[in-house]
Subunit: 314 residues, 2 copies
Amino acid sequence: MHILVTGGAGFIGSHLCDRLIERGHSVVAADNFHLGTRANVAHLANEPRFELVEMDVSDRPATNALFGRTPFDCVFHMAANSDIARSHADPSVDLNNTFLTTFSLLDAMRQHDCKKLVFASTSAVYGEAPGRIREDHGPLRPISHYGAGKLASEAFITSFGENYGIQCWITRFPNVIGDRATHGVIYDFVGKLVRDPSRLQVLGDGSQAKPYLFVSDLVAAILLAWDKSDEKVNVFNVGPSTTSTVRFIAEAVAKAFGSDPKVEFGQGNRGWIGDIPRFEYDTGRIEALGWRPNHTSDEAVLKTVDILVGAAIR
Amino acid sequence: MHILVTGGAGFIGSHLCDRLIERGHSVVAADNFHLGTRANVAHLANEPRFELVEMDVSDRPATNALFGRTPFDCVFHMAANSDIARSHADPSVDLNNTFLTTFSLLDAMRQHDCKKLVFASTSAVYGEAPGRIREDHGPLRPISHYGAGKLASEAFITSFGENYGIQCWITRFPNVIGDRATHGVIYDFVGKLVRDPSRLQVLGDGSQAKPYLFVSDLVAAILLAWDKSDEKVNVFNVGPSTTSTVRFIAEAVAKAFGSDPKVEFGQGNRGWIGDIPRFEYDTGRIEALGWRPNHTSDEAVLKTVDILVGAAIR
């Protein structure tokens, strides 16, 4: 199969390229290198079924031209702004990188008769919802522009699906961590300690508890959903049933860094506007297909801390 | 209060301007005259508290400049593409006119500290949902680009609301009819009979039954929600509890036209891709505030047929 992976040199996208190449597919990775890096896919450089294209998927003529050149059977759309905190100051980041990338792709797929789309959505579409959130939860009131950009994307994915027969697989997931991560709390904590090994300042009081998903577990879920589910619209929550507190993460990073920093907590239970302090959601649908994460949230944190601290102090 | 009404020379927007002026507010109506007309607000020309500005609200610098010139206390955002059938061939119409108008406004409100937004959404955000649909219904899977553009708008309205303290009133309503209508089934039927008084071709078999809402009843509901509800996010379904079939409408138009046309029905129960054949939804929330429509769906149809046929054959 000829597959386009947008954000293919990014964190999740590059892992996905690895698995798709292993399965024998031909893969074009499109990336604008805002968050992705050539290093993330350097190991695929001599792979004849892999091609890396530098482009911005929100550029509609460029995206259309790419589809004109290569007839794709399926698109994995991973490109997005993944830095929720940043977009508070500039909402256009999520308009352009999270939403307009999706619209640009959908319109190219429509014009070039590409009928399958796998989309990386987010648990942030639910906003601050109570209880164990299922995929059919309502109302959907995202409180971050990132969540809004993903929900806006989902909205047009379903309307394009109905209008032009495009089938979709949408996974909604929380914080993803692991090797090649480009952002997120562990990445930020390591960066702070690199700049000042004597102290680690934490936004909020450390009590925020969220599920952290290891990247290989996520990629396995995305591919399983794509393999096993065959509705017009296939939506799956993906995430571990366990959570990790910010305190646990801060202390794990501090310990691994080895500089015995003073860990300083802030006030309140959220790190920034749009941050959701606690949530849990129902992953029964993806589990019914046979998915289980190989890492609890705390295991995913510890493994990622090892990798990121190792890379930073090497 | 200084109020901006986008789409203010349009069908619903112009009626809203009338009511807001009556209440003593100062109103700026912004319209690009794609669907709106100067005739719709000609009766307000000598009103000192009314101003008509020709502009496209999706033009972000122009919108920003308007807010820089006039400090608005509240925005009524009515501008949108309202022709669902048209956007199948060109989804960019709903991207630009339905969604990007909203984003442009939100970003101007953020920068100019405007804190109140009243938004005209649609029952199309629900897609093809079973049962009596409440405001907290999930999942939301719009099947028209119009519904997608409105849901995408709602998504960013809630994230801007959370990030910058913008309060919103969102009404979701079905087909609205009445004087100054610029589109819709009655408008189309009258247009067909003007071109050929001997026959009236109907898309679908005529069995589609939908609620039709008279424009004055809708405007009353929008203003009541704004007056009486004071949450951060206020969402209301609005519509009559009754429905009208396409057959009823076709026969009413044919009879009023007086040319004894042959009414020819098509096949199937939907008129176009993205058309939703039957739905009903729960309006208990707006009724709890005291709202009741003054017209049943059939009464709204008959009154609109009189107005539009009268204007056509005059």
